[in-house]
């Protein structure tokens, strides 16, 4: 198994444990264990299988399993995105494998990148989102829980399928998608009226950074992507989980804890998001310095949305307060000393 993917599966397991330990009292822990555990097993299977085709088939099995969870969306609307994603990924793989002109192999790169975006939940209109839907059955499960490990596997496999020239095209497509999602996600998280939708868009913005990191294709880029995934799995996801009650009640508070949460979400120092951004900018500078300039400008867009999301958390009490404090502490620790996390993924 790819060390990076293995680490992301472990981080997803840690996110599940956090959710179980600090979930609001009305949450069914038994249901959370069953659904979260099945998702984790499926993610681990995607990472563990030896070939790209098997990974796609496990992804399909995971999709149908996820679609059977009781929820507010129809089965058809939940299966549409994974079917489209796997079709694009499989067509990309096919075009990468066959003999033909260069343009066919470039289509392979585009197909693989677009399929990855669809699998994670970044395609507009393909992933209907209802803020009132449970996290386990909503597209957030793909964006924040299953997606990171799946993306690490797909990107590694895609580079294995493509030749040097088309690998560069794949990386460029990932950077383009990354910049698009950074802008779209962060502006929408800032300006959308619905608080739950704002959280969803903030995940999309984070994915923009991760895709850019993969696209930079240097060690610093991959390190940045890993740290962004860490902040999604053990930062934004648990905080979103904690904010769910407040999002429903539309309570916004401006206490010091809300500012701290906003700083963590915005990727300020000393949180893990800051280390990820520094690595990404360093990698982008090595690759093509104007890209670093664009990325730096894009990173400023996190500020207004993070302040909004921080306020939407309300004032956590009881076990939720402990959970939020623990999440912030973990993010500070990794932000100050990310080396063990990176070394475990052999980066």
């Amino acid at each position: 198994m790819l060390p990076e993917a293995l680490e992301l599966v472990v981080l997803a397991a840690a996110a599940l444990v956090l959710a179980l330990a600090f979930a609001p009292v009305p949450t069914s822990r038994r249901g959370l264990i069953a659904k979260g555990g099945a998702g984790l097993a499926g993610t681990a299977a995607v990472a563990a299988v030896p070939t790209f085709d098997l990974a796609l088939l496990v992804l399909l099995a995971l999709a149908v399993l996820h679609a059977t969870i009781e929820g507010k969306r129809t089965l058809a609307s939940r299966l549409r995105a994974p079917v489209f994603a796997v079709a694009l990924l499989a067509l990309g793989a096919l075009f990468a494998r066959v003999q033909g002109p260069d343009v066919v192999h470039r289509f392979a790169a585009v197909g693989l990148a677009a399929g990855l975006a669809a699998a994670i939940g970044l395609m507009p209109y393909l992933h209907p989102f209802d803020p009132e839907e449970r996290i386990t059955s909503s597209p957030i499960a793909w964006l924040a829980y299953i997606g990171p490990a799946v993306a690490a596997v797909m990107v590694a496999d895609a580079h294995g399928l493509l030749n040097a020239d088309t690998s560069a095209a794949f990386a460029a497509t990932l950077i383009g998608l990354g910049l698009l999602n950074m802008a779209w996600g962060s502006i929408a998280a800032w300006l959308t009226e619905n608080g739950g939708a704002a959280w969803r868009y903030s995940f999309i913005a984070d994915w923009g950074l991760a895709l850019s990191g993969f696209g930079v294709a240097l060690t610093d880029g991959r390190r940045a992507a890993l740290l962004i995934f860490f902040t999604i799995l053990l930062g934004r996801l648990p905080l979103y989980f904690a904010s769910r009650g407040e999002v429903r009640g539309r309570v916004a508070t401006e206490r010091p804890i809300n500012l701290l949460v906003a700083a963590a979400l915005a990727g300020s120092a000393p949180f893990a998001g800051f280390a990820a951004r520094v690595l990404l900018l360093r990698g982008a500078t090595q690759l093509f310095w104007p890209l670093a300039l664009v990325l730096a400008a894009g990173m400023l867009l996190w500020l207004p949305s993070s302040l909004r999301l921080g306020r939407s958390l309300g004032v956590p009490r009881g076990r939720q307060a402990v959970g939020v404090a623990l999440v912030l502490a973990i993010n500070v620790a990794v932000g100050l000393y990310p080396l063990p996390l990176l070394a475990a993924a052999r980066l």
Partner: protein, 179 residues
């Protein structure tokens, strides 16, 4: 054999594109599975090819017992679907035979047409049985596409594809929770 198999695979997915009723969807599944199994035979061998056929057969049986009753092939307003099926098939034929080269042209055509038309069918329908049928055929096409990766060919992708396709057809259809 390869040409006939590729044509039957396209015909199967074409029927799925055109049908809304359970009999039509089941027939399309059966045809597509038989076709993709036939084109996979020279590359993957009899065991892997049989796995695809059996997976398709189970998926077809599952569709026969659940879904909207009747055939409902080409209901009123299905002209766009007819155009999609024919145009998609021609495009897949051009890409599989003329744009790309090498051995396994029939397999390329069958896989490209099944992947693209299954995805298009899933995107254009709000019916659970229809999307599940497209899902099953997509799984079979992904499994068969493993044959294009070059030797050695192991049977696992074919077996996994057959299992996913067969299981998807038996997924219970439920109505979404209101609140």
């Amino acid at each position: 054999m390869e040409v006939a198999g590729a044509f039957v695979a396209w015909l199967g997915i074409f029927v799925v594109v055109l049908a809304d009723g359970r009999y039509g969807l089941a027939l399309g599944t059966l045809l597509a599975a038989a076709g993709i199994a036939a084109v996979s035979l020279p590359i993957a061998g009899p065991t892997a090819s049989a796995a695809l056929a059996v997976g398709g057969l189970i998926a077809s049986a599952g569709r026969l017992v659940a879904g909207p009753p009747g055939w409902t092939v080409m209901p009123a307003g299905s002209t766009p679907r007819l155009v999609l099926g024919v145009a998609g098939g021609l495009l897949a034929l051009w890409v599989g035979l003329a744009v790309t080269s090498g051995s396994g042209a029939g397999l390329r055509f069958a896989v490209i047409s099944m992947l693209s038309l299954a995805a298009a069918r899933a995107l254009s329908s709000d019916s659970g049985p229809v999307v599940l049928t497209a899902f099953g055929l997509l799984a079979l096409a992904v499994g068969a596409a493993a044959g294009l990766s070059g030797p050695p060919h192991d049977g696992w992708p074919y077996l996994a594809a057959a299992t996913v396709a067969a299981a998807a057809a038996w997924v219970p259809l439920r109505t979404p929770r209101a609140a």
